[in-house]
Symmetry: C2
DNA sequence: ACCTGAACACCGTTCAAGT
DNA sequence: ACCTGAACACCGTTCAAGT
């Protein structure tokens, strides 16, 4: 009886009519495990001990592991508080972008999972409709509406995904020391622009940082990126 | 002798002075496996049979699996042909963006891997320097240079990552049918904008598609997104 | 240094069996 | 329908041992 515990695990349906496990409970527990110890820690057996049941019981409610990961991603997306409809589309996109970033930063370990899989609308199409409505109010229509929508979704989510990409290894400090050292000793001839701006770039720019956005958020650069997005949409309108 | 094969596998160092395996060969073979059968197929044992050696030999040259995946990502990034230096920074960013997309589309199965991990500059900082030089020539300097660099990298890579995100399952046609059906029957009251533009959106927009960009590239939307990026940078300069 | 051969601890998934 | 208990096929990694 390795997996069973206090609940008095015994084969067969639980005595009462209500089931001990629900899909929702499994998914929320899974999110909890990922938040605390990362995706690598999310195994069927870990979930089972956490829930006080056997591995197969997890599978019974949440399906395959891929389905579980999708459910966890959707759970995070459900945490999005969409800004209400407004006539000011530029301000809507701005607050939407900030809100997406807030929701993803609340679960940084989930971001890489979302980044790797096609995210499906959460049941109803509330998220998509909200974005489309804001852009349509801004004058985008037809194919231009589609393009603007894809620009907003792709840029906002994509940028934050890049910011929150996983660090190689918590224990492996070698490569971070190596990168730090390589940056301070970068060749002025082969990389003059980088060498000339190394102090403002070190650990604050993509591909030039050794820490993820979870431990070193790129706040100012994000605000600038949002300005670029909104300004660019305005210009392309 | 399950893993060994024709090469006449026998314990000990190979007869000649040159080693049978090299790190480069392992990495290139790994990329080949990923290209053909996806990341799931990339296992130590698969690589071993492919190379005609034992699993531990793979580990000896390429290190841990995470390190191997990083090496595979870097291999793809090495495929980038950077545009030469020019005074026209807007055109440089444009061709750079198209080139990134081309390189990633050449290895769509690798994109989700890159999206999940912090990408490190490929040895020297050639990629970063090229972007920084182009932007500096455009008049960006100091913190603004950092922000513009992060906008370019985050937007371009992030957008293409989103485009190339993995489809849930090659065999699972249920959910794609479900999404397709849900879209055609979307409520005009709860999602008027989506309902009114469903034919231009279906399978052509993020969160509203059932196919990844590998089988359904979003060409027009990408060109628009690049225009937004360049136009936004111009406005923020 | 380079690789074998075998082992170790773990994983996702399946499935008959119970209630 | 819900869950147990055990099994199956597989995985990444380690390691003594050989040359």
């Amino acid at each position: 009886v390795a997996g069973g515990q206090g609940r008095g695990a015994r084969p067969g349906r639980p005595a009462a009519g209500e089931p001990a496990l629900t899909r929702d409970l499994v998914v929320r527990t899974a999110l909890d495990v990922v938040d605390r110890d990362g995706v690598r820690a999310l195994t069927t057996r870990r979930l089972a001990t956490e829930l006080g049941c056997y591995p197969a019981a997890v599978q019974h409610h949440a399906g395959t592991k891929d389905e579980l990961l999708t459910a966890v991603s959707d759970e995070v997306l459900d945490g999005l508080r969409l800004p209400g409809p407004t006539s000011d589309w530029k301000n809507w996109v701005r607050t939407f972008a900030r809100e997406v970033r807030r929701a993803l930063h609340a679960h940084p370990n989930v971001a890489p999972v979302m980044a790797a899989q096609v995210s499906v609308a959460t049941g109803d199409f509330g998220l998509s409709e909200a974005i489309l409505a804001a852009l349509a109010a801004g004058g985008f229509e037809g194919e231009r509406l589609v393009d603007a929508y894809n620009a907003v979704v792709g840029f906002v989510f994509g940028w934050v995904f890049a910011e929150l990409a996983a660090e190689p290894d918590p224990s492996d400090t070698d490569w971070s020391d190596h990168l730090r050292h390589a940056l301070t000793h970068v060749s002025t001839e082969r990389a003059p622009t980088l060498a000339g701006n190394v102090d403002v770039l070190s650990n604050k720019a993509f591909m030039l940082r050794w820490q993820s956005g979870r431990s070193r958020p790129l706040d100012r650069s994000f605000d600038f990126a949002v300005d670029v997005l909104v300004g660019g949409l305005e210009a392309a309108r």
